[in-house]
Amino acid sequence: MGSQRNSALSDQLRAIAGRDYVLDRPEDLMLYEYDGGVRTHRPDVVVFPQNTEQVSQIVKLAAKVQIPIVPRGAGTGLSGGAIPTEGGILIAFSRMNRILEIDADNMRAVVQPGVVNQILSDSVAHLGLYFAPDPSSQKACTIGGNVAENSGGPHTLMYGVTVNHVTGLEVVLPDGEIVHFGGKAAESAGYDLTGFFVGSEGTLGIVTAATVKLLRRPERVATLLGIFETIDDGARTVSAITAEGITPAALEMMDGWTLQTVEAFCHAGYPLDAGAVLLIELDGLAEAVEEEAEQVRKVCFEQHAREVRRAKDDNERTLLWKGRKNAFGALGRVSPSFYTQDGVVPRTKIPAVLEFIEGVSKKYGLRIGNIFHAGDGNLHPLIMFDARDPEQLHRTEQAGEEILQYCIDAGGSITGEHGVGLEKRNLMSHLFSNDDLDVMLSLRNAFNSQSLLNPGKVFPTSRTCVETRGPALNPILVQEGM
């Protein structure tokens, strides 16, 4: 974009959002060129709207001058979903961070997209309520980002991912129109556009408010740490627990190397000489939790656990979770960069996929740590590398792709909770046929036919299919060379 045009655009945005709420100097824009993934691209301008009406005006302006828009929450996403790959306007939601309503009787909250996940739970704690989706980044990530990516977290094993907790949305469509889907009721008349827009990664519209479910805090919580000599024993325990008819609230796994690294940082009391640990949480009615805790302990020992510890109180529980939730930060101390994958396999395939990952690690000469949501088969292999070395980055991406291809071949998926974004878009054609993608693209074009809203996300641009812009109803995916 030419600097004159850029300056004119900034002035127009200032007229909408206020003089102090537009950034366009290179040193400011640098802060918005990345998220939690490995790719970067700088926006032309960043704007901080205060309300839905301003968002609508910004979107109308972008449509008029045909400039892309990318919405951004806290930038903690791990798939490049908030990277402005084609420059343009980045809408940052840090000013739209108000909880608009807490309706304890109906166990609902209405929130703006910039509300931080943890702050929502903290704000309703005095009512005995909380918001269930708990990504590891919950101290920073926003509800808007959670909705866009359909985020999960450890406790989504029992309680479901974000879409299971959203009953209504306020959305600004790509033409600037403000629409409302759903409401506070558990079900609404008409197509479930609320469910369809959640997880659409900002490619259909921009969410400016969400009505979310709040859950009642459980009466009893039991947090167990199963310690295993081998990662294989830990992995087998996961399906053994499920086979007992027990659905824990959370069932997390960490391998031995990751444990040592995390323990050095967090001092959570993890064993330093174990092959793997399972962090198992049960919650609910006291009688049921106590019985299940005993059953889980028995299953762990049957699967050769060396020891099963139980957190004695809230402090011990918090410490065990602190290690898990801060693990990514801990790994940052031992490697200049790491690349997080988000593959999913049927949970019975966990032992096989872990063996495969070990092989990939040796093949590419890259250390890979494993810390993941074992209960639902959602892997997070963390590949350690140095981003300053382009050859290492290339090897890292190849290793990641090989792992995800294995997940697809095992009947799984390329993303369980992080979203496709920029980084996995070219793997979409491994998971979906051209017809599948064609249907999705015709739906995107029904709302966002010019692809001005978060362009370059979700849909592949690789050899087999390319994304083109066009009106709805045309076959959009074309074979290269056609």
Binding site: R108, E149, L173, G190, Y191, P218, T242, P346, M440, R444
Partner: protein, 407 residues
Amino acid sequence: MNATGVSFDVARELRAICGEEHVAEIEKTSVVAVSPASADEVVAIVRLANQHGFSIAPDGGRNDSYPPSKADVHLRMHRFAEVEHYDPADLTVGVGAGTTVAQLNALVADGRLMFGCDPAFPELSTIGGVLAAAKHGPLRQAFGGVRDFCIGVRFVTGDGRKAKGGGRVVKNVAGYDLMKLLIGSYGTLAVITSASFKLFPAPRQTRTFLAEFKTWQEALRLRDQVVRSPLSPMCMEIVSPLARKMMRPEMTDDAWVICICGAGSDAVLARYRKELGSAITRELEDEDERHMWTVLEQFPFGQTAEVPDAYRTSSVFAPPAQLSETLRILQELSNPACIGRVGLGHLLIAAPANDEQGVWSLDSLKHRLPISVQVVSNWSELDSMPSMRAVKQALDPNNVLRGRELF
């Protein structure tokens, strides 16, 4: 052709696609019923419809008393009954859209698992129908709606594209969530050919606790008490006095009943008794318990799977705290028979069909009830209609699929 039904030529072409024995003309109508056996046959039929301008209504093909649609062709999906995958250790299953809920439950029972949806008449309800109509039964209290545990879907769009959304794993955010779009779309966007689901461990034992009250206000107080307690019942239903008389003619007294199904060990069930205390008037188990839930699930259809002529049904969802206001207005109208997922704010109303004032019409209900209450079967005047039209246009531009007249 639409005015006079499907022409002879089209019927002949349908026979060429599916075979002579799988196409039938429905007596006393100009409607043709066709029973395809594969997604490719559905593609061929849908493309034919786009070419010749006839309309299609998909149905499960298991229930002859299914309300006749105005569409030219009924697409009966009962031959889609194959098991695509069943992975008991992963708690997942994928079946053809024509599989009945009873067949699915029989399949997974050996693994001590269950399907999380219990619609009325499981031997007639097909998976495709459950998804298309977003059907639910009392188990919704524990497991949510089918939108919460359908993990993948295969379908043919109204413009004849064979596609899928989701997959076979319990956690998956790759691509748009097409399951959400098709669930509750009443066959107006695509013909569902198969679907995958998360399954749930079947409880080892259950008990049902009944509590009777003179007024609905007292009944709702028990609901509030349970919601605020640590109990997490599998089912929690309210039954109005008239609904109870319809289900159990021998019950003549005017009582509102709250039915709570608890699952778990002896200790857990003892906790239910302690929490519910003197509110419990009866406790059911085994055959009595199963019978009670079957009768309740079938309301207001009775034994026949047909809506009694004297009634018309409406389904409403209120935010739970607005259920009392909803019940107050319904009582003022004329004390209808109703049951519902009381913990979730749901009511299924069976109102008199003899309704000359139009009190029970969907529009009337919508305007009388609080604005936050959703009359789920009423799609008129929806704010989201332009977006719904955009979706319809993207998947069925010629409006071929008419599982329901919407546009």
